[in-house]
Assembly symmetry: C2
Homo-oligomer: 382 residues x 2
């Protein structure tokens, strides 16, 4: 019996307080709630209920969707509170315990806001969310974590690579590759974890709307703040990624995977700052990429900018550009102001063929980018 005791003690040392609190009627745990805990919870009005033990705190706040909610303490020091109905989609949030901004121990964390953040997904109508939800009835690809040595960084780099289901069986085929970038304050995990990329690709490929492709998710070297590296300007922010992608990542991918290795077989896209990086890199290297997308891209052109001077003059000859870049995709949510509509108009006026997608009712957030990806992938590699 003493061995059992050793085991019990070893495990109890690790155990958080069991959630013995009663739960508000009509609520359920969120999809990201850690199974053993009951909090946070959601009700049918899309209100979120938070609960956290903080016996000696004097005030506890949940900070979500740009609003701070004061939680209330019970006699045991367990704090609870309810939000207003929240907009659908994924939200980062933080707890503030006597001024300390931390993640909620009740949830899975995810890299966002330059931190391991708490996150919660307020579900859309199932018909709306089906395209980014696991579908048992179709074949599923895989998301592979790969590491390779970076001579420029003198360290190993981690990338995530989506391979389609048929990659496992169609062993003589080669596949086109989409290089897909995250934005500021997130990293190479974003498209897989926050973006549900695998479900989107699985669905599009299974339906035949999109050709089977490889998707590579790299770290754009812009995940540590807003131009926050000492001595760096905004122009330099993430600029090192160009050399890494072209000289290290792409060669690694094309050596490791059954990838197509010509420009027709390479696309690049990104969200927010990753959209800016995509323009900076792909439009300066149209010898390498034939398909380009920016989702809420941080591409802010000064009034009076001459389109023909941008990106080493890639737009100077519209006919040549339109022949080379088969799809130039711009997308944005209707509730944000990242200028993709103006950019699209400016390019169209300059004779540059482009596709513009507007995501109804969404802001600078993952619902916009999932939809953009879902719109973009059927257009490329055709």
């Amino acid at each position: 019996m003493k061995y059992f005791l050793t085991l019990i003690l070893a495990v109890l040392a690790c155990l958080p307080l069991a959630a013995q609190e009663s739960f508000p009627a009509g609520t359920r745990p969120a999809s990201t709630t850690i199974s053993m805990k009951g909090w946070p919870r959601i009700d049918n009005e899309n209100r979120v209920y938070f609960g956290i033990s903080a016996p000696e705190a004097t005030h506890v706040i949940a900070d979500i969707c740009n609003k701070k909610y004061e939680l209330q303490r019970d006699e045991k020091g367990f704090w609870t509170g309810r939000t207003d109905p929240l907009v659908v989609g994924e939200h980062y949030y933080f707890m503030e315990i006597d001024g300390a901004r931390v993640s909620d121990p009740g949830t899975e964390t995810i890299y966002g806001c330059n931190a391991m953040a708490s996150w919660i997904e307020i579900p859309e109508d199932p018909a709306e969310s089906a395209y980014y939800t696991f579908n048992p009835d179709i074949p599923h690809g895989q998301v592979r974590e790969c590491r390779f040595w970076s001579p420029s960084g003198q360290k190993s780099r981690r990338i995530f690579v989506y391979t389609p289901a048929e990659y496992e069986t169609n062993l003589t085929a080669t596949y086109p590759v989409l290089y897909l970038q995250h934005g500021m304050a997130e990293d190479e995990r974003g498209w897989h974890q926050q973006g549900h990329l695998a479900h989107i690709l699985d669905g599009q490929i299974a339906s035949g709307k999109c050709v089977p492709m490889i998707v590579v998710m790299e770290n754009g070297e812009c995940d540590y703040g807003f131009g926050a590296k000492p001595g760096e300007t905004m122009d330099q922010f993430g600029a090192a990624f160009e050399g890494i992608l072209l000289n290290e990542t792409i060669p690694y991918v094309e050596k490791t995977f059954r990838a197509r290795t010509n420009r027709e077989g390479r696309a690049m896209a990104g969200l927010s700052w990753g959209g800016k990086q995509t323009f900076d890199i792909a439009l300066r290297h149209t010898d390498r990429f034939a398909w380009v997308g920016a989702f809420s891209g941080a591409i802010f052109l000064m009034p009076g900018t001459k389109v023909e001077t941008l990106y080493d003059g890639v737009f100077a000859n519209p006919e040549q550009f339109n022949a080379q870049v088969h799809v130039l995709f711009l997308g944005m949510g209707t509730e944000e102001n990242f200028g993709a509509d103006r950019l699209s108009k400016m390019l169209t006026e300059a004779g540059i063929r482009n596709v513009y997608y507007s995501s109804p009712g969404t802001a600078h957030e993952w619902l916009t980018w999932r939809r953009c990806l879902n719109q973009f992938v059927p257009l490329i590699f055709r």
Copy 2:
């Protein structure tokens, strides 16, 4: 310019406080410190320095290695503190802010202790840690996240699958499969993230000491506490995993990967409760598995237990057992008391051939399990 302003505001809303504090001399960020932050830090004496902003807190504690360290507040509400020299290896830790037990916003989190825990690795001597460290000079396998539908659970299951480097090029080969389980309060991420499994396998395979193999990491349904499911006994804790593994996971793996599908091509091992599950499952199904390992296995036999009655009598005929199970591996650290030494002796006395490995100076922790895996994999599939 106003678009730049929008961007700046959007990002600033997401930014944590920049770490402007000065750092103690002779310290460096830990390997798990998030790049933008400077805390936590380590010095050459293996002391850890914590730092966290908690302006209105009255006391802040760092809880690491079974000891609580009170941090000290500066005039701005930033709290810092230093531990004693810590033992090498990976440690979970938590911050307690006025009694609220949370992870440290300065670090990566990882699933352990039934929560997204902070973790820090106190580095061993490079010669000791080389086997679980990325080696630029050898080929690297991949760790694939796969999802499949579980009829018994009516949900998708997530597994991680290591494939060796040559899996990408040796397209006609089939590979043996090791099913490798985590312990209590951790989950299917453990062997990859905490265990550095890919580095261990890459090294062993590259050196030729171990045959190329697939490793499957599943959720053993024992990650939510200590028998904590309502109404569940210890015997039932994680018992549902047997049916899942045999009827769902293995068929999925053998359908999806170029896996060998006979008992000689299947091994099972696990750590702690996963070691107990390995014995429960593999020893009751020696028609399916020919290689078995328990690392600090939670296999606590009552004094006087008759070995020949265990696991449906698998040990009753030692000759037959020894012919069937080619390797029965037991491992444990010298600084823990999980009884693998007694179990090995008991089995040896009953005529059951087994391999016993003792990890010098390590306890019930990942250093023990990395070493056990490193000892185990060269023995199997030969």
